[in-house]
């Protein structure tokens, strides 16, 4: 176990508390940089989605995790970013310009959503943001002169400095990775400066924040704007990755997926956004695999336990029918959220910290180490 002896105020400010962090993050970065030359194109595509989802996750963490304002409307912010990019691209606006414009516009709309949200809290805020998402979805479907309605819009490949960057190329992956890394660094900077502390203060006690001189309304609007702007940037990349966007891609389900990203990753640290993004992107192929192979496997097991071929075939078709039920994916997401909230409210990253501590303290780890924290989390749920 490593003990840090602080000798300078700088020790509380720097991003990497000790050399171990530099080594491990350096290794991670190296792996991410050589990934496109090693991994299959399918996995690369998934990795791009991980970057995009993690960017949205970080945005949502700023708003929900650190400022304490829940939002189920982030699919709408993503949509605004995506459509701004698609629309401006039609008029041959260069990529850097419409990338920034999409972020700025989404940020502005985020601030506008923030104003009515000032008077709402908890579940009421969630309802307000859902309504906002529905309004945006509806506008996208009906404002045909701009959005092309339900027929959707084609998005051409990124054109950067005269070079066309295909959505499957390593360069596109590097752009997404760069956006993610810059978002994370910017957010970490924010968190170690007065604005970030004001966000956390508002989350934990608005009364105290106010009496410390924090303009709560202003900072809530700021939080909404920043979160929306980052989601807008992610939206541009999302549009390019899919190369086609239509209103039904930005539904409530997508907003829920973003909530899952931070809930499952862990709402108290930016690590959570990345871990949650990996989880949500990788669970999809896993579910597809289960859907395709599970019926056969179960039938095979039944056969080895002496079921006749007719019975086994019957079982196989029943399981296959169940696996292709409508809404099964949503139900599985729901169950996952419930299990995490009940048994690991700190998410995957919280679990990882516990595992790490287990090895650091081995063999002295006590089960009771996290007891108090857990009790605290449980009692707070009724607030």
């Amino acid at each position: 176990m490593r003990f840090l002896f602080k000798t300078d105020y700088e020790d509380d400010i720097r991003l990497f508390p000790h050399s171990g962090y530099i080594v491990s993050y350096g290794l991670l970065l190296a792996v991410l940089l050589i990934a496109p030359y090693v991994l299959s194109s399918y996995l690369m595509s998934q990795l791009v989605f991980v970057c995009i989802y993690a960017t949205v996750g970080v945005a949502l963490l700023i708003l929900t995790g650190f400022t304490g304002q829940a939002s189920l409307g982030h699919a709408a912010f993503l949509a605004i970013g995506a459509y701004t990019a698609a629309y401006l691209q039609k008029y041959n606006v260069p990529f850097p310009v419409y990338f920034l414009a999409a972020g700025a516009l989404t940020g502005l709309i985020g601030a506008l959503v923030g104003f009515p949200a000032l008077r709402l809290q908890g579940i009421y805020l969630v309802i307000a943001t859902i309504s906002f998402a529905f309004i945006v979805e509806e506008i996208l479907a009906r404002w045909e002169s701009v959005t092309n309605g339900n027929e959707g819009m084609r998005v051409k490949a990124v054109s950067l400095l005269g070079v066309t960057v295909s959505r499957d190329s390593p360069t596109f992956y590097f752009i997404c990775l760069a956006v993610l890394v810059l978002t994370i660094v910017g957010t970490l900077n924010l968190l170690r400066s007065p604005t970030g502390r004001a966000f956390v203060a508002i989350r934990d006690s608005e009364t105290a924040a106010r009496s410390m001189g924090i303009n709560v309304a202003l900072y809530k609007v700021k939080s909404f704007a920043i979160s929306a702007a980052i989601t807008g940037f992610a939206g541009v990349l999302f549009a390019h990755k899919l190369s086609f966007i239509s209103p039904e891609m930005f539904t409530l389900q997508l907003s829920i997926e973003f909530i899952i990203v931070i809930l499952i990753g862990g709402t108290f640290s930016l690590h959570g956004a990345v871990l949650g993004a990996i989880f949500i992107v990788m669970i999809d192929p896993f579910l597809t695999y289960l859907k395709d192979d599970m019926p056969g496997i179960i039938a095979g097991v039944a056969a080895t336990f002496g079921a006749g071929s007719a019975t086994a075939g019957n079982i196989q078709s029943k399981v296959a029918a169940f696996a292709s039920l409508n809404g099964l994916k949503g139900a599985i997401y729901g169950i996952i959220i419930m299990l995490f909230v009940l048994f690991e409210p700190l998410g995957i990253y919280g679990r990882w910290l516990k595992i790490k501590l287990f090895f650091q303290l081995f063999p002295l780890y006590k089960r009771a180490t996290f007891k108090r924290q857990k009790i605290y989390v449980k009692s707070e749920r009724n607030r």
Partner: protein
């Protein structure tokens, strides 16, 4: 002119007069205590000053400026800090970040500078950190810097709340029952700190307190309230002998 002045301050909830035409003044550098039975309107006066409630009528002046209509967050910027009766700390943050929030009124950096963490932001952070360290030293909070509030005992939290208020370098500090929930030794420490705040930091103190021994030890003047009205005002001994005060506490 007085340093801080409340004139005919009233707060009515429907027919209930929580604070009823209360007037008082605080001189620069004094420790003024407000005492009174439960429900006398002591905390309500604090909440009026820090603008958690809007007064039904009356005016509040600080350094000859009318602050009755100021938004709540401006009260702190003017140099009035407060603590709360039931501790309002930022539970899921470390002691250090709680105290740094106290520095908020002195932060001058812009959002875009913070996103890039420019050298100016870094320099400011170090200044804040140094001021916070002085308060940590003043209140003996060294062992707790990196601890989360949610894991700390009540007595320590009480001190941290005082520390957070001091970090904003207030001119006037409002202490809402600084000794509630503290044991005898902790209350002793608190009384020393309150006197040191006055003598070393030059802070003017307005405090609500039930513990009469603490009130007697630190106060220059005392105001007794009951049913939202001022019963008596004067030195601690005078107020305690006042027949109306005796009646309010013991029943006539």
């Amino acid at each position: 002119m007085s340093y801080f002045r409340a004139e005919n301050l009233s707060l009515h909830f429907g027919g209930l007069k929580a604070v009823d035409a209360v007037s008082f003044a605080v001189e620069r550098g004094e420790i003024l205590s407000i005492i009174g039975p439960n429900g006398a309107g002591k905390s309500s006066i604090f909440n009026l000053i820090s603008r958690i409630y809007r007064p039904t009528s009356g005016r509040i002046f600080f350094e000859d400026q009318d602050i009755t209509e100021q938004p709540p967050y401006d009260i702190a910027r003017l140099g009035i800090a407060r603590t709360f009766q039931n501790i309002e700390l930022f539970e899921n943050a470390t002691v250090l970040s709680n105290l740094l929030v106290g520095r908020h009124r002195h932060s001058t950096t812009q959002l875009w500078q913070e996103l890039l963490f420019l050298p100016s932001v870094r320099a400011n952070e170090k200044v804040h950190r140094r001021r916070v360290e002085q308060v940590i030293e003043f209140l003996d909070l060294e062992p707790y810097r990196d601890k989360l509030i949610s894991g700390l005992p009540y007595g320590v939290r009480k001190v941290i709340e005082l520390a957070r208020a001091l970090c904003s370098e207030p001119k006037l500090i409002l202490l809402d029952e600084p000794s509630s929930g503290l044991n005898v030794e902790e209350t002793d420490d608190m009384s020393f700190w309150i006197r040191d705040m006055k003598s070393e930091l030059g802070v003017t103190v307005l405090m609500v307190e039930h513990d009469m021994s603490l009130v007697n030890r630190v106060s220059d003047r005392v105001i007794a309230l009951n049913y939202g009205r001022v019963l008596a005002m004067g030195s601690p001994a005078e107020v305690q002998r006042h027949p109306d005060v005796v009646a309010a506490y013991l029943g006539a």
